[in-house]
Amino acid sequence: MEILTPVFTLLILAVVFGALLGYAAKAFRVEGNPIVDEINALLPQTQCGQCGHPGCRPYAESIAAGGPINKCPPGGESTIAALANLLDVEPEPLDAEHGVEDVRKVAYIREDECIGCTKCIQACPVDAILGSAKHMHTVITSECTGCDLCVEPCPVDCIDMIPEKNPLQNWHWQRPDPRLQNVQLIVTDQMRKAS
């Protein structure tokens, strides 16, 4: 008979916790797939397709499905770090296959060469190019994401990607270089030895 006590105890516990779990699953149910949105929010939204996906959201979906997080050159190191932090994985170096991190650029149309074909306008994912057929086009710099997608379609090759800021605006302090530090140390060490 004594065997029944633990059996019942466990049974009751199982029922109680099962009910709790069932309730929690209903009460705290999360609609949709928020992780894709969260990942998408971390991507730079250039829609450039350098990752091999047709835009940022498809790349976010691929990451959510377990794909690599290091395929976004415009986002660069900071985006990888943010993604790694969100997904709780180790950050990896940027996959050079998809391009390298660079200063942010914007498209610039050499206007006297533009023939007004509207091909770039159609290519622009954020409607940042202004113009109409047979009239010169121009880029609204503040809207341009620097995605590069308008360069390819231009039949007269009159679109340049130029840095958004000049070198002075881009300059900032870098952390002290630890390698330099070590070299310095070893040199001072040897100097002391020699003297």
Binding site: W173, Q174, D189, R192
Partner: protein
């Protein structure tokens, strides 16, 4: 090599090495008292541990491919050696120090990344490893001058150091420390009664110990004066011990835990408060956090002394404090200028 150097371009001129030198200098009064009352054993310990510490540090730096001379000049290994040497009993044989310092520097310090990266106080890790592994050797203290006529001479200390066991004379010199006999041998006596029957108690704390602690207190005040250490950790720790012992003093009844003076000047209190708990690498770093950290160590020290299994608890208390330092820091961020009060 043209390298952009950010401001500032001036420097106060203090270096980590100088900080460590000051710490070692401040140990001198305490060490003098230890030697006066307990013989040459501690001095021999310190010399031996210092040699070992430098050797082990150099060896590991070499293995890790780091510049040796540069890192040896920060004197952190020497400080670890001195602190562990001060904590070891004067009767410690050579192998005890070897094991302790190997753990302290090899494992507690370098396995965690070396100077600045160790989460636990290396000297205390070494001490606790020895205390748990070799309880007999670690609790065998020399009787202080006054309790015995025969303090071991330098030669006899050397014989003990070389561990010629069984050394016939050793038992003549050794006995329990004051704190140890207070908890073990008091039976149901009143504090004053115990004071009169034993010869290991002095004026207000353990015989000899009260002066050793006074020595470390002086050294600690010197460090405070030189601004090498802050006041918060020592004050937190000493205040916690003083308050707790006052609360449980009970007028010296048979259930008493001993007077505040006995606890403040007994065992490793002052050494711990000014030299060990203040090790900045492993302590809390926020101003408020340091007070809490010190107080926490003080509370644990008292708890271990009165209700724990060991006569003194500074080493354990400091390690437990080290454990909680990051948590304390996280909850005691100071208010930055311009942020809401």
């Amino acid at each position: 090599m043209s390298m952009l150097n950010s401001s500032p371009h001036g420097h106060q001129g203090h270096s980590t090495g100088q900080v460590m030198q000051q710490v070692m200098l401040a140990c001198v009064p305490g060490l003098t008292a230890l030697t006066w009352f307990f013989g040459w054993g501690t001095v021999i310990n310190i010399i031996w541990l210092a040699l070992l510490a430098l050797g082990i540090e150099a060896l590991i730096l070499h293995l890790r491919g780091r510049p040796i001379a540069f890192y040896l000049r920060d004197y952190s290994a020497l400080v670890t050696a001195v602190l562990l040497g001060l904590a070891l009993p004067p009767t410690a044989p050579w192998w005890l120090g070897l094991i302790g310092i190997t753990f302290a520097i090899g494992i507690a310090k370098h396995l965690y990344g070396g100077m600045g990266y160790n989460p636990f106080n290396p000297a205390m890790v070494g001490y606790v490893v020895l205390l748990i592994s070799f309880p007999l050797q670690m609790t065998r203290w020399v009787l202080p001058v006054g309790a015995t006529d025969a303090l071991p001479g330098f030669g006899e200390s050397l014989v003990m150091f070389f561990g010629a066991e069984p050394f016939a004379g050793i038992d003549a010199y050794t006995g329990a420390t004051a704190l140890d006999s207070f908890r073990q041998q008091r039976g149901g006596m009143l504090v004053s009664e115990f004071w009169s029957v034993t010869d290991v108690m002095g004026r207000w704390s353990g015989l000899g110990w009260e002066w050793v602690n006074t020595g470390f207190l002086l050294g600690g005040l010197y460090l405070l004066y030189k601004k090498i250490i802050g006041w918060r950790i020592p004050v937190g720790m000493l205040a916690a011990i003083a308050i707790l012992s006052a609360v449980f003093y009970d007028g010296g009844s048979s259930a008493s835990g001993g007077s505040p003076l006995m606890h403040l000047f007994g065992g490793a209190t002052m050494l711990g408060a000014f030299f060990i708990a203040t090790d900045p690498v492993t302590a809390s770093t926020t101003p408020k956090g340091r007070l809490i950290y010190g107080a926490m160590i003080g509370i644990i020290v008292y708890v271990i002394r009165i209700w724990g299994n060991y006569a003194d608890g500074v080493a354990f208390a400091v390690l437990l404090g080290n454990f909680s330092a990051p948590l304390i820091d996280a909850y005691t961020q100071p208010r930055t200028y311009g942020h809401r009060k």
